[in-house]
């Protein structure tokens, strides 16, 4: 394929490979080596992959698109899909008092609640939970109920999609222990005084 092919073939001294005549650029020479076989195969395989992929996904459409993947994932989760709190909040529901429940409750508090009510429950965005006032009721059952249904328009979201019933009872129990504590910089009382 070369225009000015010489009769004598010049060879690279170290490898014995054929040098291309006329290919010299600022003393850089080029060898007449073929494409490495493995490289050609690698290229061919990726091209075959591409053709098959497009055919399967976009031509005959037997492989799932992302929307179908999601539907399947949700269906597989099935009954596990959260947001179906089965808690029946009635007057008989009593706060948990055992140490491990309260510790678990505190753990949830620190991860989810303190970002509005602050660590000690003194309140900032959300109300102070340590004083003897409450906007949505003082009883343990009121707290549980507020966590489940939330007060979205005021910023307290419903937690039933993010916490299990067990977690809700534990964190509500922990909230009950905050009452009467005296963290620094408490927010002014809001709501009605508790009886």
């Amino acid at each position: 394929m070369e225009m000015n092919e010489h009769k004598t073939v010049e060879k690279d001294e170290l490898t014995g490979d054929k040098l291309l005549s006329g290919h010299e650029y600022d003393n850089i020479r080029e060898l007449d080596n073929n494409l490495p076989k493995w490289w050609v195969w690698l290229f061919i395989i990726t091209i075959i992959f591409a053709v098959v992929y497009i055919f399967v996904f976009d031509v005959i459409k037997v492989a799932p698109y992302q929307q179908e993947e999601w539907k399947k994932e949700m269906a597989d989760a099935g009954s596990l899909a959260p947001g179906q709190s089965a808690l029946i909040v009635n007057a008989n529901l009593a706060a948990l008092t055992d140490k491990s429940s309260l510790e678990a409750g505190k753990d949830i508090w620190l991860k989810q609640c303190k970002v509005c009510h602050l660590e000690g429950g003194q309140g900032l965005v959300g109300p102070n939970l340590t004083d003897n006032f409450s906007i949505h009721g003082c009883a343990y059952t009121d707290v549980v109920n507020t966590i489940i249904v939330g007060v979205p328009e005021k910023g307290m979201i419903s937690w039933k999609t993010q916490l299990s019933d067990d977690q809700i009872l534990k964190v509500a129990s922990y909230v009950m222990t905050l009452k009467g504590t005296t963290p620094p910089n408490p927010k002014a009382p809001q709501g009605e005084p508790c009886k």
């Binding site: 394929m1 070369e2 225009m3 092919e5 690279d12 170290l14 490979d17 040098l19 290919h23 650029y25 600022d26 850089i28 020479r29 080029e30 060898l31 007449d32 080596n33 073929n34 494409l35 490495p36 490289w39 690698l42 290229f43 990726t46 992959f49 591409a50 992929y53 497009i54 996904f57 976009d58 992302q66 929307q67 999601w70 539907k71 994932e73 949700m74 989760a77 596990l80 899909a81 959260p82 179906q84 991860k111 989810q112 303190k114 970002v115 509005c116 965005v125 939330g150 328009e153 005021k154 910023g155 979201i157 419903s158 039933k160 999609t161 993010q162 916490l163 299990s164 067990d166 977690q167």
Partner: protein, 719 residues
């Protein structure tokens, strides 16, 4: 034919080399500051100009366009003259190229610090600077093509093919992606919105990697590696095949940045398959480089130039394998939005670009100063510290990425997210971030050592500004192909035709992907409940863009159970139709925000929370790495731009009623007073005309419209 004597312009090469070193240190030190802000968010210093969202674009642009850009010009100005056996076409153009480029860099750094940004990654420059970039880039192109035209060699060498592809493609990318309508001298809206803007942006972003960080450096490799090793190129045939395959295929692969997004599925599929097909063409460059060293490996052990090159080429091979893997949906579902992408980018930037740049500098500075490198030992030390730096940088990020992605996706047996608080997944990464910062610091130490070595080299030598060379003039040649002359061999002596063929090769992929997104309506199904932003929300959105919130927060919920449970409804193309520019983001250092305003949603926070969070995020959670944004509370919202912004939006097709611009500020104030009153009811005194009010208004709008549509995929329960 008689020999002509001419002189290579070394002075321009020297200028670019010095600029490379200077901006390299600047860009990387800013990078280190960013890395440290992950560990100590107080290092944003509570002022706008040093906050993460503003200096992250300074870092990325400085490294890409200032460090690598000047490095590329250094190598091209040196090698092009020698490969063409000609001085640069025009000294004045060379000077304009140099000083214009430095001016752009300074303007970029200043404007980004002041929050003047388009909010499109690696294309953040506002329109006046974009125009300047275009002019200076064309000056470079004219100078290069002029030099090629008046060359004294018959054929153009493979390095020059890559330089040509670089020039042609970057021109097309920069112009297409920067099309915008100005609002003021410092603010514009891109002509594209939402999904279309995203596709154009990542077509640009991906190919900026391809044609700014890859093709010019392959060109440099093709010149400096055989020169330094004094070995012939392994295979001319491989050069041809991998060159054309690379530039043709690369341009298609942009959508791999948008997998599992609201981009139409067919476009995502193209992104996947073209990325996978890129492995071999990319490796063609690595193979041709490494096999060129056959017979010279003993010298690699001793010569720091070759050492840097071998690691650079190997890093190139690694990241061009890793890239296609990350472009498969399986891997992307894990890697996207995590530090995996950051690690991947730095293998390329620190390994491939950084090391090759230093190989080039260690090669050409002693030659231009007619001396030897001052200390081989020091260069070897630089090499080892740099290599160690790369390892310390990348490994913890890969580890952290997999850790974080697993935490995002983990459910409890009861079906709840195990880590519903996003922050937990960030706090977990602190040790990795610390190690990453050590890696980055090591790399900088290596660079400082390298600079010291080069300064001593320069002091010991004597600069040769004009280097004499001689070659016979180029005999006029037959335009037609000679008998037995291959097509490609013919093309190599017809540079204009070469440029045109390259242009066609890179246009095909872009056109096929981008045009249908405009012409075929079904690609962006509209959602009736999606309405334009109110004037206050629009102003708030522009503050969001100004502060670079997209550098840490995505607005793109992927269709995974773990994301629809965490955030809400997955992203739909139709919800972004008024987003000029799109703000999908590419990295989650904080949670996705696209469902922030959904009152019944999982992410919802009241106005007073946003106020307190901007004022002092660490008061709400001491582990938070969110910067303080207290100036939003004290600074007045600029109302003078509202009417003009509405008019530009109308021009772009956003359906505000006619004459709306005249009442826009009245409407804005009504909404602002509502938010101020709500804050007041929570004990927070803030005037309605402050920036924070607009920002809150925007955040509270996010996701509202698409959730109002009540589509069957809604996962929000309790409604």
């Amino acid at each position: 034919m008689e020999n002509q004597t001419f002189y290579y312009d070394n002075k321009i090469v020297k200028n670019f080399a010095y600029a490379t070193l200077f901006w390299g240190v600047v860009g990387m030190v800013v990078g280190l500051l960013l890395a440290l802000q992950f560990i100590w968010p107080a290092l944003t210093f509570g002022i706008p100009y040093t906050t993460f969202g503003r200096i992250r674009p300074i870092h990325t642009n400085a490294v890409i366009f200032a460090f690598v850009g000047n490095g590329m010009f250094t190598g091209i100005y040196y090698s092009l003259q020698r490969l063409c056996k000609a001085r640069m076409f025009n000294d004045l153009l060379s000077k304009i190229n140099f000083w214009g480029w430095q001016l752009i860099i300074v303007l970029a750094a200043l404007t980004f610090a002041f929050g003047i940004t388009t909010g499109k990654e690696y294309a953040e420059l506002e329109w006046p600077i974009d125009l300047l970039v275009a002019v200076i880039w064309l000056v470079f192109g004219a100078n290069m093509i002029g030099t090629i035209i008046k060359r004294r060699t018959q054929h153009i060498y493979v390095a020059i093919w890559f330089y040509i592809a670089t020039f042609v493609t970057i021109t097309v990318l920069h112009v297409t992606n920067s099309l915008a309508i100005p609002v003021t001298l410092f603010k514009s809206y891109p002509i594209y919105a939402g999904v279309q803007d995203a596709l154009v942006q990542w077509w640009y972003g991906h190919n900026a990697v391809a044609f700014f960080l890859t093709t010019p450096f392959l060109g440099l490799m093709y010149y400096f590696l055989p020169k330094a090793a004094n070995r012939p190129i392994y295979s001319y045939r491989l050069s041809i095949v991998h060159f054309w395959a690379l530039i043709f295929l690369y341009i298609w692969a942009g959508p791999h940045h948008l997998l599992y997004s609201a981009l139409p599925n067919w476009a995502q599929s193209l992104g996947v398959v073209f990325s996978v097909m890129l492995i071999a063409p990319s490796w063609g460059g690595m193979v041709n480089g490494l096999l060129t060293l056959r017979g010279a490996w003993d010298r690699v052990r001793e010569d720091p130039v070759l050492k840097f090159m071998v690691v650079a080429v190997t890093a190139y091979g690694m990241s061009t394998f890793e890239g296609p893997m990350m472009s498969t949906k399986t891997v992307n579902a894990i890697s996207h939005f995590t530090d995996w992408t950051v690690g991947h980018a730095h293998i390329g930037a620190l390994g491939w670009n950084g090391f090759l740049t230093f190989a080039v500098l260690y090669y050409l500075i002693p030659r231009m100063f007619q001396t030897q490198l001052f200390s081989r030992k020091m260069a070897n030390l630089h090499f080892w510290i740099g290599t160690l730096g790369i390892i310390f940088y990348a490994v913890p990020l890969y580890w952290g990425a997999i850790t974080q992605a697993s935490m995002w996706k983990e459910f409890t047996a009861a079906g709840f997210l195990k880590y519903p608080n996003f922050l937990e997944t960030v706090t977990q990464l602190q040790p990795m971030y610390a190690t990453r910062a050590i890696g980055g610091a090591l790399y900088i130490v290596g660079i400082v050592l390298g600079i010291y070595n080069l300064i001593l080299t320069i002091k010991a030598g004597k600069f040769m500004p004009e280097e004499a060379a001689s070659a016979p003039a180029l005999a006029s040649t037959e335009a037609k192909r000679g008998s037995g002359e291959g097509i490609h061999r013919w093309l190599e002596r017809r540079p204009v035709q070469f440029i045109l063929v390259a242009l066609v090769a890179i246009l095909i992929g872009g056109l096929i992907e981008i045009v249908p997104l405009y012409l075929v309506k079904t690609n962006v199904p509209t959602i009736a409940s999606v309405k334009p932003y109110t004037p206050l929300e629009l102003q708030g959105r522009d503050i969001y863009v100004r502060e670079g919130c997209y550098t840490c927060h995505s607005q793109q919920v992927r269709p995974f159970r773990s994301e629809t449970e965490r955030y809400g409804e997955y992203a739909k193309a139709g919800e972004y139709v008024y987003d000029h520019p799109f703000q999908w983001g590419s990295k989650r250092n904080g949670p996705d925000l696209s469902r922030e305003g959904v009152v019944n949603g999982r992410q919802y926070k009241p106005n007073s929370w946003h106020y307190n969070h901007m004022l002092n995020p660490q008061r709400l959670n001491e582990q938070s790495i969110m910067p303080v944004y207290k100036w939003l509370i004290t600074d007045d919202l600029d109302l003078s731009t509202t009417a003009k912004k509405i008019r530009v939006m109308q021009f772009l097709g956003v359906p505000y009623p006619a004459g709306y611009d005249k009442i826009a500020n009245d409407e804005l104030m009504i909404q602002a007073r509502g938010i101020a009153d709500d804050l007041k009811s929570q004990g927070i005194q803030v005037e309605p005309g402050k920036e924070i009010i607009a920002m809150i208004a925007y955040l509270q709008r996010l996701g509202k419209d698409v959730h109002a549509a009540g589509t069957p995929t809604a996962t929000i329960t309790g409604k």
